[in-house]
Symmetry: D2
């Protein structure tokens, strides 16, 4: 049996594990006040080209989204997001639990459009009753999106411009950021993101770490008093150096990019297996998640040999399924999938 | 200048004011522990045909919605509602401020459909990741809806059945309930509502009272510990007898129905003025709110003589506007509107 | 039977009722966008000597406290208050429900001391772990306090100074403010309060109105976006003009002061009845609430003729009880109490 | 320089690290749906003597407290705790952020007394105004406490009895539970705790794991729908098997007890160093935290050679300081401390 369910099926990249082992006996201060964490933050600032940036290391994605969004919004504000956004669908109401509404915008393969963001905000303030409504207080985007798609630099610049013109922060959920940065054809760099997004996070959990997400705010005044908020949200790791060591390793000698590159290359190879069979792809993903529409009987045959996720409820005759690679996926497993597919389809 | 903006432009029905004056010097216990409140609750129980019902008197609609929904939901649950629902659009995030998501369903002239509620709940639990999502914990409907439309008895029975089969309470926002109860052609009575909805409220603010909403739960176990929750939500009136006196008056000799009937009769008369002119009605409302699509130049001419609300942003050539009557609307004002319309259109 | 339970046993001052009746049929815009409300706010600004002040009219006290405190605090902050403060004891957790801790300070007959506030804040920031603790983000005081006691001008100035030096707003709960302003011996005026407190409210519910509390912020930037917050907290009255008319009446020809003065004069007369009998007063209240320590058998005899509140649980031999007068208390009832006391003690 | 600051200065017990390394390349389902987690839960159930217990693995202590307390309380309820409790002092308002008040009881070396819990609850319901107050909805205790002290079995039984008689759950914060279980003289076993506390957690972060806390509810109905609540609180680890592997290791061959025993033995040895010098101990701790009152000049001299924490603000002449050992403390470091102390005091 081979597995393409998610990109968090293994532990951490061997290099990360090696460093955790090497440092295991060292004694450091807790809660991120250690030298590893300081160094990791410095490496991230350098990689972002933002020497003044505030960097905060948290444990998981939903936790990071809730903490950042709670920090950025005033009490009367909500967060704009695509209706398919992770915060709107798959975080068990974590955003609402902090008291804030997720205001949904149309999704375009998981992305929002700058003109629609602008129109929403413009129409909002044109409505006489707007003070009875939840004010759009920030924009949430993800890159890659839930569907593995990516913003172009032009799209990101347009979103950033709308946000700055309307005075709301732009926040990017980068749970799979690495896979986006190395995708073929992308013209968006980490420096672009750091320049265009007011706050974003660099996902570690799905890109080589055991866990960990690095929140970056190029202007540190965007996240005042963020430390007690991290604590209040239960997101403060006692042994904070575990986050520091992991991100230090990932941002040394480009490991974060190398790990991501491996996954994306194999995902594209995997994609070609299905393309060759003529199956339909509902989203054109250049990253490590591939969505493909398969006949139900093919799905049933495949499931005897390989695991993957049904995307949404099973259709009558065919269903969208998701195959995911990671920094840990083995080339031989992709090849094996090709053989299985040859038999099953 | 005549006014059809809303149904809360005047004070209270003269009979209500008379009783408030008559009792003004009396001394009673606070927080609703007075005989007027007890009597009002008894009258409401009788009118509902539910001798065991719990009745709670609160001050305003948004407050009532937030308090009831917070009481009915567990922490991991959200409330199902039409995307046009008042709680989703016009309560400034009051529901989310209590930590709960409003889960939106398609709107059908402001109403939700039982089959769509059932499908949502069924699909939710079919999704493998449902524990990562906000569970549908109750249903919110309004009757009349935001658009003055009404559920039929069959529709209400179907919704109630879905709720009971899936184990979630059905809650009705009755901010304008009176206008619904007396509408021509409705087959839904107050007793039906009390039987089919687990919790609902009888709106006073818009139907003859200065303010006040009466929450009814036919099974009092539906709202345990509701008193401290009312207090916690800032919804407990110190001089609670003001609510008691008002609802006692409204539920004596059918004043609530009579007051509503006046408004609905005049609304239908008003509607005919526009029908006669051939204007289009986006919703077919048998209650006290009438939505009509008017050419922008007609709107501009009318506004010199009569006030009413634009419904949403102004269109390019025509715009939907709302005319509202109330228990206090004068017959002569409706006639005057007819004369104005003759000139302006 | 005569009653001294609370100061909210009657309706409203006859003058207030008269104005509500006179204006009942008028049609005005909702939600406070009417001329009565505008005029009431202007009268309050004048009385406060703060022509730029923001004034907001809400319905009740707990609601007002929760809305203001939620508006003034950042997410990581709590509110400093005496351990006996209404927000800490008698608001059913309304403050915590907005996500904020009430940080308690020692009570001195219901008051907090400036030096203790200063010491708390100083020690807080001296603690190495302060970022793991709830930051003191504002000060809550009440005037009169729960025990009818008053701050002197010097005390209020000291508290204000501490707040401004440490950068936290000073908020005064003025549920019974009128009774404090007219107390014999007080050197604190409404203008002093408006100058020294960043935000405070002028209580209407207990001083002549049916309901209503007027929030004042001398610097309107203290309460940005307060309107949607009022709505979100369920504190926005649809027929907002009811609040406007009441406060307009109370702030015309000094009615607010006259109504309060009546209550305080009778409270002092009542106090003398108990002083003459040699009973002990746990607090020296110059306002409309009087706390007196009575033998249990006296209490039992009195209760056959007069109602009042036990303050806390019944003691073994004697118990503190509370007698309250209001703008509506009748002189003859105080005299009658004298006669009853002569018999019962 | 040697360090006795905290018990989370190192990584994980070598045995735990070894298992994380061994399993690193394995592919498992996420979010705790893996065999390691299932096995860990089974081992914990066995150790607790509660074959039906629900076990949930979370990441950190504050997070666990907030999630459990939010799950156990109704909206109108608060949590009873010692005024020194971690949730009251050092969690940055995480409990209040979920909308609940921490109701404080007197501290007795960090412990609460059953008679005082009982008295609080009894007096609460005797108060006529109790519905205006936050109802005591559960009890929070810690074992060991913040001061390293322990409940006796008799004390724990008494607390449990009060809770069950009054119908509120008893919850134990076991962040350092291991150190309590192996303390000399304790008569409380893990089985006792599982029997007497409705919910408790077994701390991993401070007792041998990299991170992780195991929540146990002997009656699983105590924590319905806990999975989505974990997610909502941002406490759900994507690679849940990391928690499973760690707790499986800790609960195999008694590693949890052995690791704790090492720390406690060295803490007692360390204690004797100070006892021998005649210093005063404000708390008599049989666990791994030792609090000792030292002259300021001794503290200053020691700090040149050894790190430890000042407990609270520095006193005028002497200050309470804390020395903490862990499963990782080296015997030679304790001996070295003896030598340093000989020189410095």
């Amino acid at each position: 049996m081979i597995h393409f369910d998610t990109d968090y099926m293994e532990g951490a990249h061997p290099e990360v594990m090696r460093r955790l082992m090497e440092t295991n006996d060292e004694q450091t201060a807790g809660y991120g006040a250690d030298a590893y964490t300081a160094h990791a933050k410095e490496l991230i600032r350098q990689a972002c080209g933002q020497p003044q940036a505030a960097v905060h290391l948290l444990v998981g994605g939903t936790q990071t989204n809730a903490t950042v969004i709670d920090a950025l919004l005033a009490r009367h504000e909500g967060v704009l997001a695509a209706e398919t956004a992770h915060i709107n669908v798959h975080e068990a109401g974590a955003i609402e639990a902090t008291g804030h509404k997720v205001i949904t915008l149309p999704t375009h393969s998981g992305k929002v459009r700058a003109d629609e963001v602008a129109a929403y905000i413009r129409d909002f303030y044109r409505d006489d009753t707007y003070e009875h409504m939840v004010a759009p207080g920030m924009l949430y985007i993800s890159h890659p999106t839930e569907y593995g798609t990516l913003y172009t630099l032009a799209e990101l610049e347009a979103l950033s411009r709308v946000c700055r013109e309307t005075g709301i922060p732009c926040y990017m959920d980068g749970a799979r950021l690495g896979y986006g940065l190395v995708a073929e054809g992308t013209d968006v760099t980490l420096q672009d993101i750091a320049r265009l997004c007011d706050v974003f996070y660099i996902g570690g959990t799905k890109v080589g770490a055991l866990f960990g997400e690095a929140v970056v705010a190029s202007d540190p005044r965007r996240l005042p008093h963020f430390f007690p908020l991290i604590k209040q949200h239960g997101a403060l790791l006692a042994k904070g150096r575990l986050l520091g060591i992991q991100f230090e390793t990932l941002f040394t000698e480009g490991l974060y990019w190398r790990a991501a590159d491996h996954a994306v290359r194999l995902a594209q190879k995997l994609k070609q297996l299905f393309v060759a069979k003529g199956y339909r792809f509902p989203f054109d993903s250049p990253t490590n998640q591939q969505f493909v529409c398969l006949p139900n009987e093919v799905i049933d045959r495949l499931l005897a040999h390989v695991t993957f996720e049904l995307w949404g409820p099973r259709g009558e005759r065919e269903t969208v399924v998701r195959f995911v690679t990671s920094w840990a996926t083995r080339e031989e497993d992709v090849e094996k999938l090709g053989e299985i597919l040859a038999i099953c389809s």
